[in-house]
């Protein structure tokens, strides 16, 4: 199905607007849906409660599937639901299947269903981008970097002394922790 607004792109978003008693509905492409949603205060209409668990997301997908429209963001004038008939042009996967099993059809589905998936992904992971690993072996962790920078960072020699003291005091857990720190320093 093509977008009812621009008539050019594949419609992947089902848009519904309720003003008073009058409801208007439209199948839109991702671009048009984004533009339409900005008319409602720029809020992304697909953004749910970011703290809910994944099962809640998938359940809300199920709800969308059952009725034509379910108010996703209650208390708002407009709500948007996703067209369950939308298909990935690369692998033929249907969004309705994703709603059932939480899995996509191919690596290109992320591109095909971008408009619907992006808010979902932001809800699961927070509003963040992927961060590259650094270095062949994954690099140093945040705490290791902090430790290396800190001027009061104790030397391996001092730590060894502390280990001996901890062992004498039978604080073996503390000794084990210190030993790990020495190992880290020596790397």
């Amino acid at each position: 199905m093509l977008c009812q607004r621009c008539g050019k792109r594949q419609a992947t978003v089902f848009f519904s607007k309720t003003v008073g008693n009058e409801t208007t509905q439209a199948h839109l492409c991702e671009v048009c849906a984004q533009e339409q949603s900005q008319a409602y205060g720029g809020l992304n209409p697909l953004a749910f409660n970011p703290f809910a668990a994944l099962s809640d997301f998938l359940n809300s997908f199920m709800n969308w599937n059952e009725g034509a429209i379910t108010e996703v963001n209650s208390g708002r004038a407009g709500s948007v639901a996703v067209d369950p008939q939308a298909q990935c042009p690369y692998c033929g996967y249907q969004l309705s299947t994703f709603r059932q099993n939480g899995r996509l059809g191919c690596t290109k589905c992320y591109e095909a269903f971008k408009g619907m998936l992006d808010p979902l992904i932001a809800s699961i992971h927070g509003n963040v981008r992927h961060v590259e690993e650094v270095g062949e072996e994954g690099g140093k962790s945040e705490s290791e970097r902090v430790m290396a920078k800190s001027p009061e960072n104790p030397s391996a020699k001092e730590l060894r002394k502390k280990i001996e003291e901890a062992i004498k005091a039978e604080k073996y857990e503390e000794a084990a922790r210190l030993r790990d720190e020495v190992k880290k320093l020596e790397k």
Binding site: L104, K108, H130, E133, S141
Partner: protein, 352 residues
């Protein structure tokens, strides 16, 4: 097939690792997919086969490929698949799914390369005790080597593209299996787990994903791996696990000070039951082994060690018992075989 898994003496879980008095094992898993291909659950047999062959060829080119055993899961019996699941070589989902799927594994190294599980390739590594950092360096090296041969699907914004959007980003899950009997005994586990959840980690029961919480064995792992580097995820899980170790040991010290004899009694009775029972369920055996772990760790018991108890956790599972008995077992026969194995392994154990 796979009889060697029943008698091996150098599997990863037979080694003792850091903090092994509380931490049973550490596990890391990376999810990778082939660019432009259908995910395994949506692919047809030909497409699945193609993914298996492509990944298999890449694995064959690894420098340590010689230690890896390659098995096509659709060509072995369901009992053997269950055995591999219990042995932590494959996941329950991998064992149960249909179609062309395979694994390349090395139990000594705790390494499994799962082909066509939920994703085209999952790299999984186990370590005894709390050992995520070393495991991460090892797995990252392996991932880089395979990434040079395979065209991983990756998006600059979303990271590695995975069948389920929950795994995006660096697509890493870092888990630690902990034994927390004192927290359970003092009814503090729920409260402590609430704290673990608040720092963005998940708590699960003994065998991960779907099973119920069994005895005092719990697994903590990261929920999301997007917007973070793997090394920081590992660091976060590792630090949380260390805190749990500390809280558990403190609680143990406190309860042993207050009611030491009562707890010793429980541990020694558990030894008596596990060593002398003739019929025993998996749940009762796990509860008993939980008590024995405390006994060994606090030097109340001698003649057995933690690696041996680790191996019992695996050997008393249904498919292992059927393999040991070399025949199919009904529920009662299985419970009898379990009691026999426990009796055999615990013979040298005694109250110190």
């Amino acid at each position: 097939m796979f009889e060697e898994l029943l008698t091996s003496t150098d599997d990863w879980f037979l080694k003792s690792g850091p903090s092994c008095e509380v931490v049973v094992s550490s596990r890391l898993r990376l999810a990778r997919n082939l660019e432009g291909e259908k995910f395994p659950h949506h692919a047809n047999a030909v497409e699945q086969r193609k993914a298996v062959e492509e990944v298999k060829a890449a694995i064959a080119g690894l420098s340590d490929a010689g230690n890896l055993k390659f098995v096509r899961l659709n060509e072995i019996s369901s009992l053997d698949r269950q055995l591999l699941t219990e042995h932590q070589v494959i996941s329950a989902e991998h064992a149960a799914s249909l179609g062309e799927r395979a694994v390349a594994y090395d139990p000594k190294d705790g390494l499994s390369l799962l082909i066509n599980e939920e994703d085209h390739l999952r790299l999984q590594i186990f370590r005894s005790g709390l050992n995520l950092r070393e495991a991460f360096r090892y797995l990252t090296r392996l991932d880089h080597a395979l990434g040079e041969k395979l065209h991983y699907a990756k998006d600059p914004r979303l990271g590695y593209l995975t069948a389920c959007p929950t795994n995006l980003g660096v697509a890493l899950r870092a888990s630690v299996m902990l034994h927390l009997p004192a927290l359970v005994y003092t009814n503090r586990a729920a409260q402590v787990f609430q704290g673990v959840t608040q720092v963005g980690l998940t708590v699960r029961g003994l065998q991960g994903e779907t099973t119920q919480v069994a005895s005092a064995f719990f697994q903590i792992s990261n929920q999301s791996s997007m917007g973070k580097r793997g090394v920081d995820i590992v660091d976060h899980v590792d630090r949380t696990a260390r805190q749990l170790v500390e809280v558990e040991l403190q609680t143990q010290n406190a309860i042993f000070q207050q009611e030491g004899v009562k707890l010793q009694d429980r541990i020694c009775r558990a030894l008596g039951t596990l060593r002398n029972a003739k019929i025993i369920t998996l749940q009762e055996a796990l509860d008993g082994l939980s008590a024995l772990r405390v006994g060994v760790e606090r030097k109340i018991l001698s003649g057995i060690d933690l690696p041996k108890l680790n191996s019992l956790l695996i050997l008393i599972q249904p498919a292992h018992l059927a393999k040991i008995a070399a025949r199919e077992l009904n529920a009662e026969q299985e419970a009898m075989e379990r009691a026999r194995i426990l009796g055999l392994y615990l013979k040298p154990a005694e109250a110190a």
